[in-house]
Subunit: 173 residues, 2 copies
Amino acid sequence: MNQIKSILAELRKMKNIALILTAAFLAVFQTSCMKQVPKRKELQFIFPKGNLGPAQNFTGNAWATSLVANDSTYNTVVGNVYFEPGARSNWHTHPAGQILIITDGVGYHQIKGQPRETIRKGDVVKCPPNVMHWHGASPEIGMLQMYILPKTEKGIVTWLYKVTDEEYNNENK
Amino acid sequence: MNQIKSILAELRKMKNIALILTAAFLAVFQTSCMKQVPKRKELQFIFPKGNLGPAQNFTGNAWATSLVANDSTYNTVVGNVYFEPGARSNWHTHPAGQILIITDGVGYHQIKGQPRETIRKGDVVKCPPNVMHWHGASPEIGMLQMYILPKTEKGIVTWLYKVTDEEYNNENK
């Protein structure tokens, strides 16, 4: 009977070891594996985040990087903007228009007098010369966008007033 | 003694169960977790792959997508090219020059008479008007690049002859 008691004691030790091993295994699985499946997809940055845009021209945080500076050979300015969720530009115009290329995320673009458009990774939108528009991120997901300003001999940008929360939130406005 | 034999039999069964559980766990770990770590990073496409460029203008496979078609408002053409590893354009010129923006991968750009440059994700390079150049992927890694052609009222492109293997492989040429 003593032998049987000893064996039972050993079995109990084995059970405890099994429980500890299972817990350790689950912990390793969670840290080494689950980390690779982020709950929310991060935006893919191609260029540096850049510098925070001035508060008088933007609502929320918009970060800008220059990619092509103005010169008389190409007369083209190119840059990249990262709009944090909820961030947007003021209303503004470009003397020769603007081309926007969305490289990641989700955002909005609105031309004055037209409905707000939702724009996503891979979309290309244009705003004609001297027409008022604004662009920015959606409330929940940020937006990475490149901009191209052609014919810079005509000028770059004229900044106007803030986009109100009502304008930002109303897709039919 | 019969009781001890029974206990030993139970212990052997437990050992077998432990082995089966370990094998099953490793199999699950490998399929659900290891798949998320590809051996080689795939290029991040922003735009559709597009159509295969004509063999008379390219060596290897180069896929092109139009993003902004030519018009008289913006006078700017924008597109995206995916060069498979080893693929490159012919030598060519643009009447108003060209801006290249590398969005992923590794490639080469060479302006006639200058050394071959290696270009990577996030790089921006320019080729002046009426200057011969070629661009393409590195031998091992493909390249995704956007191109901007300004001042299209001056024209788009003049295609010239093939880039030889010697030119492609010689970084000092």
